[in-house]
């Protein structure tokens, strides 16, 4: 730590406030990025599984229609 003399409090206050603000900004940026990424991944997985269920339901319905046609 350098000798800041008479202005020690002034310099430390300015630097401390700046580093705190920068740390807060970087922290908030990273936190929100990870929150949104996680939420998007969960939503995409849900949408994909919904689409897969829809396709399976459609295929099952098609098979049932074909079978009904064959029996008739």
């Amino acid at each position: 730590m350098p000798d800041l003399g008479h202005y020690e409090m002034t310099v430390l206050l300015a630097w401390g406030g700046t580093l705190l603000a920068l740390a807060g900004l970087i922290g908030q940026t990273l936190w929100r990025a990870s929150e949104v990424r996680r939420a998007l991944q969960a939503q995409e997985a849900r949408s994909q599984s919904d689409r897969a269920t829809e396709r399976a339901t459609e295929r099952a319905a098609d098979r049932a229609t074909e079978q009904a046609g064959g029996n008739g």
Partner: protein, 243 residues
Amino acid sequence: MSLWEYANPKKFMETTGWLLPWLTALTALTLGGGLVWGFFLTPDADRFGSTVKILYVHVPSAFIAINAWVMMLVTSLIWLVRRHHVSVLAARAAAPVGMVMTLIALFTGAVWGEPMWGTWWAWDPRLTAFLILFLFYLGYLALWAAIENPDTAADLTSVLCLVGSVFAFLSRYAVYFWAQGLHQGASLSVDRAQHVADVYAYPLWLTMAGFVFLFLTLVFVRTRTEIRARRLSALVARERKAA
């Protein structure tokens, strides 16, 4: 290859995806190096004593505070003219970074002003323009938060950005327009007579580079987040519609 390719969210995500690790490393190197050099390795100044070290946080933050608004102005104009969503999302992403930088510049200026000028605050043209710029940042963010329709919010915030540009410009040039007030001229200048001594200037240039890289890194990360958030709300809306 055209610059407009980056208006495509997919292309923007790809490019910034490989660019970000390099930019982060560059930020750590320049910002860390500049701050350590400025704080630990520079001598006290004759007139200002050790308060000269405040230069390394005040000048770069003020520089970014003004230029973040200039970047927002350019990207807002691109939105208004060409309707590229990535550009207006980049403006939205830059606003909180610019606001924090303005706050740092105001705070460090006040802390330095108290022992040097004998006051925390003066209604000096440059200081006042900076305070109004800070209020414009707050207003810009509040407007984004207040309007639900994203395109309407983008339009209105872009117009607000155009109006606020006057104060970003004044924050930089008020010292020259009105030859009054406490704030001195530029610390770094092409004119050697105005320039601070080399022993202070070299670490200051390095810290400035560090702040620029930090700004770019944060804006890229935040723009990527905004793009993801848009996709998330589109998926949620589609799911609600299907239900």
